[in-house]
Symmetry: C2
Subunit: 213 residues, 2 copies
């Protein structure tokens, strides 16, 4: 107890601090406009601290992006694994996905940026590997939604156009909406968040459901 703080933070805590700060900066200013000094200043530190944990700016960004992917996977996995009717599983996944969009907004914005393929100057071999792995994970994630939609189509409980891939994309676009228009505000209540979640999920599920025309 040499410091004013209770105890010195562990390495992994420091790592998390850095990830959070980086997510915040990348989210608000974008990749290029965010300098390493910006991230460091966000922590009251300097470049040395950042480069002590990450070999390059690109690797830092990739770490944030990968963390974002972890989050959506974990948020939707219970729904996907659930032993329920297809339609309920899909709705649970949708709900988890939208919740992640709201509660981990910074990481989700970075995740979206990472998927929108600009800035593909993968210099290192490690980065190239990291990228292709990320693409694979994104495909696997979308495949879960496609799988459930296909099951629902087979059952007759769901409906899609001639090309179900487009339907899934549109479905997920609706779920991803908050990334574009939502900003967390100081006075936000959990109730407000849940109201947003429910409305988006309702909209998206209704777009998918089979109705007598």
């Amino acid at each position: 107890m040499s410091d004013t703080t209770t105890n010195s933070p562990s390495r992994s805590e420091r790592y998390e601090e850095l990830l959070d700060a980086a997510a915040e900066c990348f989210q608000s200013r974008g990749f290029d406009a965010t300098s390493i000094d910006t991230v460091a200043r966000h922590l009251g530190a300097t470049k040395g601290r950042v480069y002590h944990y990450f070999p390059s700016k690109m690797d830092l960004f990739n770490a944030v992006r990968d963390r974002g992917m972890d989050i959506v996977f974990q948020a939707t996995d219970p729904g996907y694994q659930a032993d329920l009717p297809v339609l309920d599983r899909l709705e649970a996944m949708a709900r988890g996905h939208v919740r992640a969009m709201l509660f981990h907004h910074s990481f989700m914005l970075v995740l979206k940026d990472g998927l929108l393929m600009r800035r593909y100057t993968t210099t290192t071999e490690f980065q190239k590997e990291s990228l292709s792995q990320h693409i694979a994970r994104r495909d696997a994630y979308e495949a879960r939604f496609r799988e459930l939609l296909a099951k629902g189509l087979a059952e007759g409980s769901l409906r899609a156009g001639p090309d179900p891939a487009i339907t899934v994309q549109t479905f997920m676009s609706a779920l991803n909406g908050p990334v574009a228009w939502f900003r967390p505000r100081p006075g936000d209540t959990p109730q407000k968040y849940e109201a947003i979640v429910e409305e988006i999920v309702r909209f998206a599920m209704q777009g998918l459901r089979a109705y007598p025309s």
Copy 2:
């Protein structure tokens, strides 16, 4: 007829060439990663040409962004002005919006980038003015959708959650979907485009429609 071309291009034609090239570059690499030299090289020219038409990179970007806004307004205006039931007007607007997303994909991507508020280093007074005007136009654009939704709610033909603003946002997110996942391909046919349009519009309208639960 001194050249191989029929005649020397007019000033406005040159301007359009520049806008198109800039839209293409900004779309594929993003704002920061696109250098003025990149845009120039895209035209087989050098910086001199670009700076002859635009005072700065930011102004060039803004011009592309504003053009994008022009496009969506023109694409949806007939539907908005039409003398039809609210639901049909909204569907016509949606159809025009999605068509714009596909047929002017580059400009639409830049438009979305411009709305996602990064890079707000508006140095010039002119740029600050340009930005606030653009925000106003975006608000006016979204207001048209909100207006028709409100009319539909009053009629009972449409349905929304407790906060209709969220419903509109989700509706438009679905329409904007192609910005994220669509890439024009060499072999694309108009039929393919129309199929995408119809499916997205169907999905989005169904999410909005009032159904007996």
